[in-house]
């Protein structure tokens, strides 16, 4: 236990060091400002003490004062306050900038990795985890940085105060040297008692949320079986655990807060008691006493900043630990030196002995798959669920690389192509259409210089022109996050237009037409194949109607390309194919 605690402290210090190394300039500036703040806080106490000694007490003793003395006193108070304000402003701004820059910088690095790492890496990590890595984890990793300079400034303040105390009166120094470590120790104990409780509360929060998600998703089942009460009991039980967890957190915090207030107050009282004796003995003067008492009341808050940093470190480390694997992940997609053969028209595809196995899965998804797609032809890939169709589609556009064998584009292995060559020749439309939070136009062109006429023509082919024209701002309409303002079918048609507008030499459709009318599907394929230089099309198909559009069918079963031929041939020859196609078509009379 204590060793683990030490480890956390050591790792915490290293993490602080990391933050400082990443932002040395901001940290120095913030530290400088904090030190100014610290020094001025001490100074303000001394000013009060000096004023007591030199202005107040003489005035009250002698019954007279000078305008100069009063002006000087006022100027001293205001001058020190102004410097202190400069310190506060600098501390808050530079510390804020430091913390925000670290967050932004790490968010950039993490998302940079997301864009750089191969899709096989993405497939190994749940979406929710990747999202929170880039968002909440990065945030918690650097959250402690905001009070860090304040805490460092507090250390400076304590150092100055200790020296001043010793110089003023050694006996008063003893009081300070007892109170400061006590406050510090209380902070450490607090963060250690608190962090497991906080973690538990956080865990319970997640569980409560999970139950709510599950239960609301199951609404139809819950309601139609009349299980609302048992669901509420299930939820309430966890919500009450959360309540108890939060009350446990509250107890600790509720004790710590008044303790933190009482300790400096008791210190002040001790200073007064000892000080009064010392003043009576003539060992100190009243001004010293007042300034030290005043200082104690000012010190309480900065010392707590040390506690804030310490309390937040375990969370910061946990967040950083979750981010690190992303930053350290390797496995960039290597690109080759070759250009694609610049022939116009459809590309010839060769799939040679391709094998593919997902990480953590023992059985290969694809095994020794070999087939050719002639330039300009259309091939449908058909197979039962889990036969590896989508994986194969992804291999053709190099979303992933095969474990064995290779995929050739016009005889060149995809891995030998330069970056950007393949995406310039091939287009891919996935099962669930992905739209960017951009305009309709931006989603079709993806930044490439297509004219509006080209875009409209592509939309027409994808049967998207009508609804786009009806949108409030036509091509300039923003589609919202992931196309939220559009229906599933509309999203799919935009994704198809995105592929069509590029006039790709190879088009790979991974069940991308499920939400569009078969007639539209036929029109899209006709438009691409009907030109003098027809596009090569590989389509993962579920629908009878889609299969019917293909020149040939590749029948995939259990990761192998088992048979190949026209639809009619396979119906006769392959019983599994016939059964599957029939099952699909029964499902499809979208009644």
């Amino acid at each position: 236990m204590s060793r683990r605690r030490d480890a956390v402290v050591r790792r915490g210090l290293r993490h602080i060091g990391r933050a400082v190394r990443e932002q040395p300039r901001m940290f120095s500036l913030a530290l400088l400002a904090s030190s100014l703040y610290g020094a001025m806080t001490v100074a303000s106490a001394y000013v009060i003490g000096e004023i007591t000694d030199r202005v107040l007490l003489p005035a009250f003793d002698e019954g007279a004062t000078t305008a100069t003395a009063l002006t000087l006193a006022a100027v001293a108070i205001l001058g020190v306050a102004l410097l202190k304000i400069v310190g506060i402003l600098g501390r808050r701004l530079f510390a804020g900038v430091m913390s925000y820059r670290l967050q932004a910088e790490y968010r950039r690095r993490v998302t940079g990795q997301y864009l750089r790492l191969p899709l096989s890496w993405h497939q190994r990590h749940p979406t929710g985890q990747l999202l929170s890595n880039a968002n909440s984890d990065v945030e918690s990793a650097w959250f402690f940085v905001a009070p860090l300079p304040f805490a460092c400034g507090a250390l400076v303040m304590i150092a100055i105060t200790s020296v001043a105390l010793v110089l003023t009166d050694p006996l008063l120094a003893v009081v300070g040297l007892v109170v400061f470590p006590l406050v510090f120790a209380a902070n450490i104990v607090y963060s250690q008692v608190m962090s497991p409780r906080m973690q538990r509360a956080q865990q319970l929060r997640a569980e409560v949320s999970e139950i709510a998600h599950e239960s609301f998703d199951a609404a139809l089942v819950v309601k139609t079986l009349g299980r609302e009460d048992t669901e509420t009991e299930r939820f309430t039980a966890r919500a009450e655990e959360l309540r108890d967890g939060l009350i446990a957190v509250g107890r600790v915090r509720g004790l710590f807060d008044p303790l933190m207030e009482a300790l400096p107050n008791l210190g002040t009282l001790a200073v007064l008691l000892i000080g009064a004796n010392r003043v009576a003995d003539g060992a100190a003067d009243a001004g010293d006493l007042v300034s030290i008492a005043y200082l104690f009341t000012l010190l309480a808050l900065p010392i707590r900043a040390i506690g804030w940093v310490l309390a937040d470190l375990p969370r910061a480390l946990a967040g950083f630990d979750r981010v690190t694997p992303v930053l350290e992940a390797t496995g960039e997609t290597p690109y080759g030196p070759d250009a694609a053969t610049a022939a116009a028209g459809g590309a010839g595809i060769g799939v040679r002995d391709v094998g593919f196995t997902f990480d953590g899965v023992s059985r290969p998804t694809l095994r020794e798959v070999t087939f050719d797609v002639a330039a300009g032809s259309t091939v449908a890939v058909v197979g039962p669920t889990g036969s590896g169709k989508s994986t194969l589609a992804g291999l053709l556009v190099r979303l992933v690389d095969p474990a064995g064998g290779g995929v050739l584009l016009d005889g060149v292995d995809l891995r030998r192509l330069r970056e950007g060559e393949l995406s310039a020749s091939a287009a891919f439309v996935a099962q669930s259409a992905f739209l960017f939070d951009d305009t309709v136009r931006g989603n079709v062109t993806l930044g490439a210089p297509f004219s509006d006429d080209d875009v409209m023509a592509a939309l027409r082919v994808a049967a998207a022109d009508e609804f786009v024209t009806a949108l409030p701002e036509g091509l300039d309409t923003r589609v919202g996050e992931r196309g939220a303002s559009l229906s599933g079918g509309q999203r799919q048609r935009l994704a198809l237009a995105r592929a069509v507008v590029r006039r790709p030499r190879l088009l790979v459709l991974d069940d991308a037409t499920s939400a569009v009318d078969p007639a539209v599907e036929a029109r899209i394929l006709d438009a691409l194949r009907g030109s003098e230089t027809p596009t090569t099309v590989v389509v993962v198909a579920y629908r009878q109607a889609t299969i019917a559009l293909a020149d040939e069918v590749v029948w995939l079963a259990d990761g192998r390309a088992v048979a190949r031929g026209t639809h009619a041939e396979l119906i006769d020859r392959v019983p599994g194919y016939a059964a599957l196609v029939r099952a699909y078509s029964q499902a499809e009379v979208a009644a």
């Binding site: 009063l70 506060i88 409560v208 979303l399 995406s423 992931r482 979208a590």
Partner: protein, 607 residues
């Protein structure tokens, strides 16, 4: 949601509405307030001690009275300790009452959400409903405790400090108040700016979340179209805008903070100058003057924190309002056993028939009628398939029969000619849910074992009962093939099973519920042929001897039904057996021909 959509009530109105809903919270409040007042009293002890030590100890006319000083300080120390105890008690009370009240509010909102039809009608809004019982309440809890403690202590501190100051010197008190009055206005102004800048920050956070999601969810598209640079640039821009907004907000916060420091210094300088002059006039003592310098520091913190509390309060109140709006929304379908117990009627025993009596339904007022004056009777024990195009109104049937919604006109009745017909609206939910069961299209499974999921249909069954049920349905072999048989965990939302297998468990769940009327929303997802066969067999067993209403997505289902209802544009346009309808001229014959064509492998006619 049909609830009050755009409520523009003030923050106080929301708080009052909330307090009415949380009596346990209100009950504890007076004692907590009293403790808060005691707690803040302790804060003026130190300044008072300073004054006493100077005036009666050090600057006393006849020399320092150290005995008195010792007693004074001991007394003050006791007060400090008592104060700490009071603060602790207050904190614990506050935490306990708020958490208890909020846990109850959470549970209440959760139960209420299940009564709202929005849950099953607008699936996309489920996420926001989840945040009603999670983050909105969490935010409220944080605010009530942080803001609540701070607010109570701050107000108390200001009050007590002002009173003590008045006792010492009314002139100096006025002086200090004059210095702080402008700050109060400044804080109000700052608070508005804070709300604005933090509003921008939240908006930018949303943009960053969206942009990050693109790089994760859109990864295949980004890769396939080679638009990494463009996506990275957009991400960078979003991250940068967020950063700028944060810095901007930080500037405002810092400004609030230092304005307090500045005013405090101003007040101190004024107190010294005016205090000395007053002292010369003999109005105050040296100790009083020094005590004032201490008391001024008590003024700074509450004013500084007030601006931050105000900002937090705006968010918390907005969240509170969202929660209360959910709880205050009247459920559109109410259980007569709760709403009107004297109207409740019992359903006749045995298989139940269905009767629609001029039933009209609209999803929104003024919208096209999803069902338009439908009259029909389905005899007990009949297996009926309902077919029609998407949007024809066929799923509306299922929702009305299970009373997920009520018709806007007309009545739905259950029963039989022999046992009598009972309006659905008069049937207690408990009896309705026991007799009428629906198997939804997506047979949702909970993150539990197969057995527990089936038991959801009839609590109290043993695992052996569940196995027997699977055997009855002809699914014993499939069950035995699972890694842990009936105790196999199905994973989140049943994702360890295939879509077809999830449907098998859902059928078993309905089977053990043993309903007299069964409503099936048939799955459309393509399942592999083996599962397809199992499912068909299990459904045959499940529907045998029961009145069954199947929303048919496959015409093979219609072929096996006793009767087929063809729905089009809210009307039942054809009714009869499959054989009769195929031969008759009409929509069914057309649907069927299209289905046959695609089964035979011919392309759909283009155009």
């Amino acid at each position: 949601m049909t609830g009050p959509a755009q409520r523009t009530e003030g923050a106080m109105a929301t708080l009052r509405r909330g307090l009415r809903m949380m009596p346990e919270f209100r009950r504890g409040l007076p004692v907590t307030f009293a403790l808060a007042l005691v707690a803040t009293a302790g804060r003026v002890v130190v300044p008072v001690a300073v004054q006493q030590v100077i005036d009666r100890g050090l600057a006393a006319p006849d020399g320092a009275d150290l005995g008195l000083v010792t007693w004074l300080i001991a007394g003050c120390a006791v007060v400090v300790v008592l104060t700490a105890v009071a603060v602790y008690r207050m904190n614990v009370r506050l935490f306990r009452t708020t958490e208890t009240a909020l846990a109850n509010l959470r549970a209440r909102a959760f139960r209420h959400v299940h009564d709202l039809s929005v849950l099953h009608q607008q699936g996309e809004r489920r996420g926001s409903l989840v945040s009603r019982v999670t983050s909105d309440v969490d935010q409220l809890s944080v605010f009530m405790q942080w803001g609540g403690v701070l607010g109570l202590v701050s107000v108390g501190q200001l009050l007590v400090a002002t009173v003590v100051m008045f006792v010492y010197s009314w002139q100096l008190t006025l002086l200090v108040l004059v210095c702080f009055v402008p700050l109060v206005f400044a804080v109000r102004w700052f608070a508005q700016r804070l709300v604005r800048v933090y509003g921008v920050v939240r908006e930018r956070v949303g943009d960053v979340l969206a942009a990050v999601a693109e790089s994760v969810v859109g990864a295949p598209t980004v890769r396939a179209y080679g638009v990494r640079g463009r996506t990275a640039a957009r991400l960078d821009a979003a991250i940068d805008r967020h950063y700028r907004a944060q810095v901007e907000a930080q500037k405002v916060t810092a400004a609030v903070f230092v304005s307090g420091e500045f005013v405090a210094a101003l007040a101190n300088a004024a107190v010294v100058v005016v205090g000395v002059l007053l002292g010369l006039a003999g109005d105050i003592s040296a100790g009083t003057l020094v005590a004032f310098l201490f008391l001024v520091t008590l003024f700074v913190a509450p004013v500084q924190t007030a601006s931050e509390v105000l900002n937090e309060a705006q968010n918390a109140v907005a969240g509170f309002r969202r929660v209360l709006d959910v709880v205050d929304t009247e459920p559109d379908v109410r259980d007569p056993a709760v709403a009107a117990p004297d109207r409740v009627r019992a359903l006749p025993g045995g298989p139940l028939g269905v009767r629609f009596d001029a039933v009209t339904f609209r999803y929104a007022p003024g919208a096209r009628a999803a069902l338009d004056g439908v009259d029909l009777t389905i005899a007990p024990r009949t297996r009926v398939a309902i077919v029609g195009e998407t949007g024809s109104g066929k799923t509306t049937f299922a929702k009305l029969v299970t009373r997920l919604m009520d018709p806007v006109a007309g009545r739905v009745l259950l029963g039989s000619d022999a046992g009598g017909w009972v309006p659905l609206a008069d049937v207690a939910f408990a009896s309705l849910r026991a007799r009428v069961v629906m198997v939804p299209q997506d047979g949702f499974l909970f993150d539990a074992t197969v057995a527990e999921n089936v038991r959801y249909g009839r609590p109290g069954m043993t695992d052996a009962d569940v196995v027997a049920a699977f055997d009855d349905l002809g699914l014993g072999g499939w069950l035995a093939g699972l890694p842990d048989g009936v105790t196999t965990a199905v994973g989140q939302r049943g994702e360890s099973l295939s879509a077809g297998e999830r449907q098998l468990v859902a059928v078993a769940r309905a089977y053990v519920a043993d309903p007299d009327l069964l409503v099936l929303d048939e799955a459309t997802s393509a399942v592999d042929p083996a599962t397809e066969q199992r499912l068909t067999r299990a459904l045959d067993t499940l529907t045998a001897g029961r009145t069954t209403l199947t929303i048919a997505h496959r015409l093979s289902t219609a072929e096996r039904a006793d009767e087929v209802l063809v729905v089009d544009a809210g009307h039942v346009v054809q009714r009869g057996t499959h054989a009769e309808l195929v031969d008759a001229e009409g929509p069914y014959a057309r649907l069927h021909a299209s289905w046959r064509r695609s089964s035979a492998g011919e392309p759909e006619p283009v155009g």
